[in-house]
């Protein structure tokens, strides 16, 4: 199930986008793409969600009270490198743009007020490129596996990690329980706080 993450401190914007995406299908490679859309007015909450499930696309506002869009998407890139990243902002600040491109490596910058059609078609383009890239990578991995460059286990691990980010890094206790490192979580939260 494809998922999209929307972050904006103004819920009206999120609702409007929600409505838009509900009405307007995103067509990727001729296929109507009806993703599940998660919306967050808090960037921290959004990142928390991002550490729980995998997203195909993250759209963030630039200026927000807790974290700015660049920080959110940078963190998003750390967590899910394959997730496409888009900034939707009415504020055009050169430094912000530089950060967005160099650090968060965003795929698109959409100016507010957005044009609905443009918005949807931009998302479609981004997703199409992402799909292409991933397909390329999968094909390449498959090719490498066939040539014995990587093992089938590695390939499966990668696939799993793609599907459920972090699943391959879970520490198991001797009794089969899952060990949660509170320090790591605190660190992650502190990092978000920046």
């Amino acid at each position: 199930m494809p998922r999209i993450l929307l972050v904006d401190d103004e819920s009206s914007v999120l609702n409007a986008l929600l409505r838009l995406l509900r009405i307007t299908p995103i067509v990727v490679r001729g296929v109507e793409w009806r993703p599940k859309i998660d919306i967050f007015t808090s960037p921290v909450e959004a990142l928390k969600a991002a550490s729980e499930c995998s997203y195909d696309l993250a759209v963030s506002d630039f200026r927000m009270p807790e974290l700015d869009g660049v920080a959110v998407l940078r963190r998003m890139r750390d967590l899910q490198p394959d997730c496409a990243r888009v900034i939707l902002s009415g504020y055009t600040d050169l430094n912000g743009l530089i950060g967005a491109i160099n650090e968060a490596r965003i795929d698109r910058f959409i100016a507010k007020p957005w044009n609905d059609f443009e918005f949807v078609s931009t998302l479609a383009q981004v997703l199409e490129i992402r799909a292409l890239r991933m397909e390329n990578e999968a094909l390449a991995d498959q090719f490498r596996c066939e040539r014995g460059e990587i093992s089938r286990v590695e390939l499966e691990t990668k696939r799993l990690e793609q599907q459920e980010p972090g699943i391959t890094q879970v520490q198991w206790g001797p009794d089969g329980s899952i060990v949660i490192d509170m320090d790591e979580i605190a660190e992650a939260l502190r990092h978000h706080g920046n």
Binding site: S12, A16, L17, R19, L20, Y91, K112, P113, W114, D116
Partner: protein, 720 residues
């Protein structure tokens, strides 16, 4: 007795031989003589006869006493008897004989008793004293005359003899010395009177034959030999004992000589010269004083002269004496200023030092009238050295003699070329400074304005961001709404078609409800409503965009821009100022992109548009035009407003000049516009007519940065 004796002899009547011999002796005598024996004469010689004018015989008839004047007969008789009887040699006596003619003869009669043949006789000889007497009388008279002369001489005079005794002492001398002649007669120690000590007087010294050298020593040079009489001396000395407080006396002393030339005395005169002396002294004092004064004056004059020449020689200004149109003299400094080494300008025409004859005439025409009035004249002008180099000279002229201005003039000349140069440099600098200051002022104003614009831009950017969010979702929502509505309308249509399947009651209720909400109208109006809302939102979007474009906080560098677009976005920003007053007509041509500071040019357009709106009182037309000519583009903002007076047109680009009411205009708009356009190497052309409106046209080169010089202006833009 003797006379008797003699008388007796003839009485005897016989003259003895002795007697005869005696007669012969008697006759041989040249002296008058006679012989008697107390009676008649026994004999009288020829000399006696001659003396008395008697013949010898007549004499014999007379007695001796009959020979004398009657009052002397007795003494004659007595004398003869005395000789005859007692004293044979009596002393001679003076007798006065009487001649036959009755004249008197003074004689000295000497009688001697002689014995001849035993007979005593008296031989009397007469010494004729008449001449001596005459001489004596004359002498006496002379002496008296002399005395009188001396006495009546107003000059004090005294005489001494060879023994230094005073022999004469005249009245004036008495008065002078206070000593009487009687006291002084025969006195020798006259010095006490004159000097208070026994000191020889000049006359004493002369009598003593003192040498001139000693005299000089004694009188300390105050003595000199008389020019009039030989051996005489003159001296002047002060005698403290005379008069009330002493007297100055002019003393002359001359020797008196006897017939043999021997000095037998001396005469001294004393003239009171105190007055003269005092006068002389006063005169002398006065003269000395005068001389002192003269010498002082001379010294002063000398000093002044010396100072003057030193001053002239060392003066740091050129000094020049001019008579007529020629230089008489000049100092060193003048030579340094105007001449080559060693040259002199004396005798040169003053006109030689002027740059031209016209210069000289101009100068003369202003300087001479002042100088002829005797007033000093001050002037500054360019003069020329003899070698032709020009100097800026400050000159001051004075006439030498105010009573005679034609006599000539003194000129003081100072080379002010450096000062002049400095002054000119100063003036240039001042002008430059003023210009710089002006520019600085403009820059500051512009800065002020820019800052204002920048903060407006920042504000606009901030506001735009905040507005963009709601615009974003409202816009999106509107789209969604439209979508929903379409769906809803479709649904309603489906319900409508399904109506027939409902019961009559339900159908009626639905009808009522439809009617109640006027569904028909609603369905008709909804798309319009949505369209208008989207329209309005579109306008809000555009305004925000224009505000951002206009402020261009993110783009303040030279960049290519479409001026038409700039004009449009500017118009949008100020539209609310304009739209209620004027209809805006756009008359754009296609423009090439212009390299410019778009934000700044937008400010220029804004100023023009706002001014145009302000110039329109009730309602008018604002025409925005643009055009393109060669390397230039132009933008024009024209209005149908009140227009501007000449005065306003002349001053409108001055900073802070405004015709708007207080608080409405800053007076900076046009001056700022002017400097912005200048920065773009462009120009602003203004056409304005009062009551008809104004048109501002900005000409901008397409690439103002392309070359240092702006490209040649198209002919259209030239002139007004």
């Amino acid at each position: 007795m003797e006379t008797e004796l003699l008388h007796r002899a003839p009485a005897s009547g016989e003259p003895s031989a002795a007697e005869a011999a005696c007669r012969t002796v008697l006759h041989a005598l040249s002296l008058p003589a006679f012989l008697h024996r107390g009676n008649r004469l026994l004999c009288g010689n020829a000399a006696l006869a001659r003396l008395l004018g008697y013949s010898e015989n007549q004499l014999l008839a007379r007695t001796p006493d009959e020979l004398v004047v009657p009052d002397m007969r007795e003494s004659m008789q007595a004398y003869g008897r005395n000789c005859l009887e007692t004293d044979p040699e009596p002393a001679a006596t003076e007798m006065t004989l009487r001649t036959a003619s009755g004249d008197d003869r003074f004689v000295e009669l000497t009688a001697r008793r002689i014995d001849i043949a035993g007979q005593a006789m008296v031989l009397s000889t007469c010494q004729d004293l008449s001449d001596i007497r005459h001489v004596q009388t004359s002498l006496l008279n002379m002496s008296q005359v002399l005395n009188q002369i001396l006495d009546s001489d107003p000059v004090a005079t005294f005489v001494i003899d060879a023994e230094h005794r005073v022999t004469h002492w005249n009245r004036a001398c008495e008065r002078l010395t206070g000593r009487d002649w009687w006291d002084m007669q025969g006195v020798t120690d006259k010095g006490t009177i004159f000097f208070g000590a026994d000191r020889p007087l000049l006359c004493d010294l002369i009598v003593d034959g003192t040498s001139p050298l000693t005299l000089q020593a004694l009188y300390q040079g105050e003595i000199r030999a008389s020019k009039i009489s030989e051996g005489a001396y003159e001296a002047e000395a002060f005698f403290p004992s005379f008069g009330e407080s002493g007297l100055w006396l002019f003393v002359t002393a001359a020797p008196l000589r006897n017939s043999e030339g021997r000095v037998v005395g001396a005469i001294e005169t004393l003239q009171d010269v105190t007055q003269r002396r005092n006068a002389e002294q006063e005169l002398m004092r006065h003269r000395n004083q005068l001389e002192l004064l003269v010498s002082e004056r001379t010294k002063e004059l000398d000093t002044t002269n010396r100072e003057l020449s030193a001053f002239m020689a060392n003066a740091s200004v050129g000094i020049l004496a001019v008579a007529g149109d020629r230089i008489v003299q000049h100092n060193k400094k003048f030579a340094e200023m105007f001449l080559a080494d060693g040259q002199s300008a004396a005798g040169r025409a003053t006109a030689d030092f002027f740059c031209s004859a016209a210069d000289y005439e101009d100068f003369a025409s202003i300087a001479f009238p002042k100088l002829t009035e005797g007033r000093p004249f001050q002037h500054e002008m360019t003069l020329s050295r003899l070698d032709g180099r020009q100097l800026w000279i400050q000159m001051i002229g004075y006439v030498s003699n105010a009573d005679d201005p034609a006599a000539g003039a003194w000129w003081l000349l100072q080379d002010r070329s450096e000062v002049r140069r400095a002054q000119e440099a100063l003036e240039t600098n001042y002008a430059r400074l003023k210009e710089t200051n002006h520019r600085l002022e403009e820059a500051q104003n512009q800065l002020l304005q820019s800052e204002k614009m920048a903060s407006i831009g920042q504000l606009a950017a901030g506001v735009a961001h905040e507005i963009n969010n709601p615009i974003g979702f409202v816009n999106s929502n509107l789209n969604s709404l439209k979508h929903y509505l379409d769906d809803l309308l479709q649904l309603i249509a489906d319900y409508g078609s399904a109506e027939t399947e409902l019961g009559a009651e339900s159908r009626q209720r639905l009808h009522a409800a439809k009617k109640d909400i006027d569904l028909e109208y609603m369905l008709e109006d909804l798309p319009v409503l949505l369209r208008e809302s989207a329209d309005g939102l579109g306008r809000v979007k555009r305004i925000v965009q224009d505000l951002k474009d206009f402020s261009r906080v993110d783009n303040s560098d030279w960049a290519e821009a479409d001026l038409n677009a700039g004009l449009d976005s500017t118009l949008n920003v100020v539209l609310n100022e304009v739209k209620y007053k004027a209809e805006v007509v756009k008359n754009y041509s296609v423009l090439p992109p212009v390299r410019c500071l778009a934000a700044q040019l937008n400010q220029v357009f804004m100023n023009f548009i706002v001014n145009a709106a302000h110039a329109i009182e009730t309602r008018g037309v604002i025409t925005l035009s643009s055009g393109h000519c060669g390397a230039w583009v132009w933008i024009e903002v024209a209005d149908t407003g009140s227009g501007m007076s000449e005065e306003v047109q002349r001053r409108m680009f001055e900073p802070f000049y405004t015709t708007k009411p207080v608080g409405k205009g800053t007076g900076l708009g046009l001056s700022l516009s002017f400097s912005i356009v200048q920065k773009h190497k462009g120009i602003i052309k203004v056409k304005s007519e009062q009551g008809k409106g104004s048109a501002f046209r900005v000409w901008i080169p397409v690439d103002p940065e392309g070359s240092d010089e702006a490209p040649a202006l198209p002919s259209e833009a030239q002139g007004d």
